[in-house]
């Protein structure tokens, strides 16, 4: 019985670990390829090897073992008093380091990635802050106020949430053209601010706030605006965190609409920049993977820091009124 349970546990862990490795492998591969040696000059044959394009593929950056190999040789040379050989191996150590990070160097010197990164970051921040403010205000009154037209507005919001975004691509494009917003960041920010998922989420959350608290604030003579800021917003903090993270992630990763409205390379967001990078440098995988790594790191950090909010946000969908 006990043996059966232990072996069951063993099988469970084996399956889960194998599957976790499979699922994380592509992401690992981004970083491994970004740091892979691409122009390694073999010391004895003088041949230049690219480990990025090795058959079979190298599963980790070859710079690491090669670096220690040279380090060992340099140390041996130093102990046997061969200063020239030591200098040679030290130089090769530097070469390996330079080559390892050459993808990032090429990226930062040869492309506008800093601009793209900045564009992505500031657009994501502006949209997130805007969405948090607008959707909390709207969600609050939809949950807690009685007024003519309320149910109709809520129904309209729910109905449009079901319509796929592709339908509005053409009309939005024409609209952006008419308004003269093509090739501006407004063309990204305004449609993103209009998304209504957050209104729905905030409204669902606000339903759980006891109305007594709001009444109490009213009796104390607080204005609506003051009540909102001093009572409603503090109580909604968990929902705000969830909505903020999901909005940030969606804007940071958004792709289809930005490639339609942005033509000026200085205005690109990261995903659009990465696409043009791929279109122009299809064969330079070290460079491409360096770009991918730069785009991936912020989301990975956000995810690790706020994991529990991600999880809470996902389970909101199952909440019934």
């Amino acid at each position: 019985m006990n043996l059966q349970r232990t072996s069951g546990k063993f099988i469970t862990y084996t399956i889960l670990i194998i599957w976790a490795v499979i699922s994380l492998l592509p992401l690992y591969w981004v970083f491994s390829t970004a740091l892979q040696l691409s122009e390694y000059k073999d010391d004895t044959t003088g041949q230049v090897i690219s480990y990025v394009e090795a058959e079979p593929p190298k599963l980790y950056p070859m710079g690491i073992p090669k670096y220690f190999e040279e380090w060992g040789k340099a140390r041996d040379a130093a102990s046997s008093g061969n200063a020239a050989a030591e200098a040679h191996h030290r130089e090769r150590m530097d070469m390996i380091v330079t080559d390892t990070f050459s993808g990032f160097a090429a990226l930062f010197n040869g492309t506008s990635i800093w601009k793209w990164f900045f564009n992505s970051a500031y657009i994501a921040v502006v949209v997130t802050v805007g969405i948090l403010l607008l959707d909390t205000m709207a969600g609050y009154v939809l949950a807690k106020k009685q007024f003519p037209g309320r149910d109709f507005i809520f129904w309209l919001i729910i109905a449009t949430m079901m319509i796929p975004g592709q339908i509005t691509l053409v009309p939005l494009f024409k609209m952006v053209q008419t308004l003269g917003l093509m090739d501006t960041h407004w063309a990204l920010i305004l449609p993103d601010l209009s998304m209504v998922f957050g209104v729905f989420l905030m409204r669902q959350y606000m339903l759980s706030i006891p109305s007594d608290l709001l009444e109490a604030a009213k009796i104390d003579g607080a204005s609506e605006w003051k009540t909102f800021w001093t009572v409603v917003v503090p109580l909604a903090k968990p929902a705000l965190a969830t909505l903020g993270i999901f909005t940030f992630m969606n804007v940071w990763n958004s792709f289809l609409w930005p490639i339609i409205v942005l033509n000026n390379a200085d205005l690109y967001t990261l995903p659009v920049g990465l696409k043009t990078l791929q279109d122009q440098n299809l064969a330079i995988f070290k460079l491409l993977m360096s770009g991918a790594a730069v785009a991936a790191v912020p989301m990975i950090i956000v995810f690790i820091a706020f994991q529990r909010y991600f999880i809470r946000g996902l389970t909101v969908g199952g909440v019934k009124e």
């Binding site: 469970t12 399956i15 889960l16 599957w19 976790a20 699922s23 994380l24 592509p26 992401l27 591969w29 981004v30 990025v52 394009e53 090795a54 593929p57 607008l134 205000m137 709207a138 009154v141 007024f147 003519p148 507005i153 919001i157 449009t160 079901m162 319509i163 796929p164 592709q166 339908i167 509005t168 691509l169 053409v170 009309p171 494009f173 024409k174 609209m175 601010l193 209009s194 209504v196 609506e224 992630m249 940071w252 990763n253 792709f255 289809l256 990261l270 696409k275 791929q278 491409l288 991918a292 785009a295 991936a296 956000v302 995810f303 994991q307 991600f310 999880i311 996902l314 389970t315 969908g317």
Partner: protein, 314 residues
């Protein structure tokens, strides 16, 4: 809406009654003016950038786009959509993609969640994180790395297959493997959302149900099949809808990995809409295609809803 206080009743005229109702409605709205002010900014954006474009999309789908003026063409765009061979191929490819990836990822999510659920807190949160992490990463990044994974000579995929003596394939550049390459990739991206939602739902199933079944002598598989799976039905339904919608809209992988090719082997609906609208500038046709896509998604959603709910009633 509250009914009006009846002050103007004695006149007996319907118009007066109506007027008084309007008056009290206005009074009610005035009293709640703060609420409208709170809603106003979001509503302006919502109407301008969502409601109007949706309505406009239907209008455009009945027009032929011209440089100076658009012309009404009735249902021509819809007729053209269904007569267009490229559309039918894209539809068929999208269906194939959906019909394989959706059930497999749901099943995978259920299996993995089942395995994770009984573990301790730390293992649970570790695996949850590991399976969810790829989901927060942009599909652009995932698609770029998978191009490299599928590389004929230097890719990981052929390397792993070589352990099983499967000959190397140029997965993305052969018309009979390209769509399957996209399908396999989509299956190997872990269903992070599904796993987390199933875990949450499993956590809310009362332990007493399992205790009772144990006393009745049900084995662990029986308990899972007869208690867990049926009680997860609402989650399954929600997830299926979600991934159905997502997979009907598959786009990023296509444009970054195959561009719809080779030939039209991986042409999908959204990629076709994108090409029709923004490369060929056939706005009317693109809108008609988008609306057809919406209707198809809706039909699938309804069928799915009916199937799952019919079953849960008996």
């Amino acid at each position: 809406m509250k009914t009006s206080p009846t002050t103007a009743h004695e006149t007996g005229k319907p118009s007066a009654k109506l007027r008084s109702r309007q008056k009290s409605l206005l009074r009610e709205m005035w009293k709640q003016r703060a609420a409208y002010l709170f809603l106003l900014p979001k509503m302006i954006l919502f109407i301008a950038f969502i409601v109007l474009p949706v309505i406009w999309a239907f209008v455009i789908s009945f027009q032929e786009f011209g440089i100076f003026e658009s012309e009404w063409v009735g249902i021509d765009n819809y007729v053209a959509t269904f007569q267009n061979e490229a559309f039918m191929i894209a539809l068929w490819n999208t269906l194939k993609y959906t019909l394989v990836t959706v059930p497999v990822s749901i099943l995978l999510a259920l299996t993995l969640a089942t395995l994770i659920h009984p573990l301790g807190r730390i293992s649970q949160s570790f695996f949850r994180g590991a399976f969810y992490l790829p989901t927060v990463t942009s599909m652009v990044i995932i698609a770029m790395v998978w191009r490299w994974v599928y590389n004929y000579r230097f890719g990981l995929f052929n390397y792993f297959l070589s352990f099983f003596n499967i000959p190397a394939q140029d997965w993305l550049n052969q018309s009979d493997t390209a769509l399957w390459a996209l399908i396999i990739m989509s299956i190997l991206i872990p269903p992070g959302v599904g796993i987390i939602m199933y875990l949450a739902a499993m956590g809310s199933i009362p332990e007493s149900l399992y205790e009772a079944a144990k006393i009745d002598g049900a084995g662990s598989f029986q308990r899972w099949w007869q208690i867990t799976v049926p009680l997860l039905k609402p989650t399954t339904l929600y997830l299926t809808m979600l991934s159905l919608i997502g997979s009907f809209q598959v786009f990023t992988q296509v444009i970054l990995m195959t561009g719809g090719g080779p030939g039209d082997a991986t042409e999908t609906l959204v990629h076709l809409i994108y090409k029709t609208g923004f490369r060929d500038l056939e706005f009317g046709l693109a809108s008609a295609q988008a609306i057809v896509l919406f209707v198809i998604t809706l039909i699938f959603g309804l069928i799915q809803y009916r199937l799952l709910y019919r079953k849960s009633e008996d």
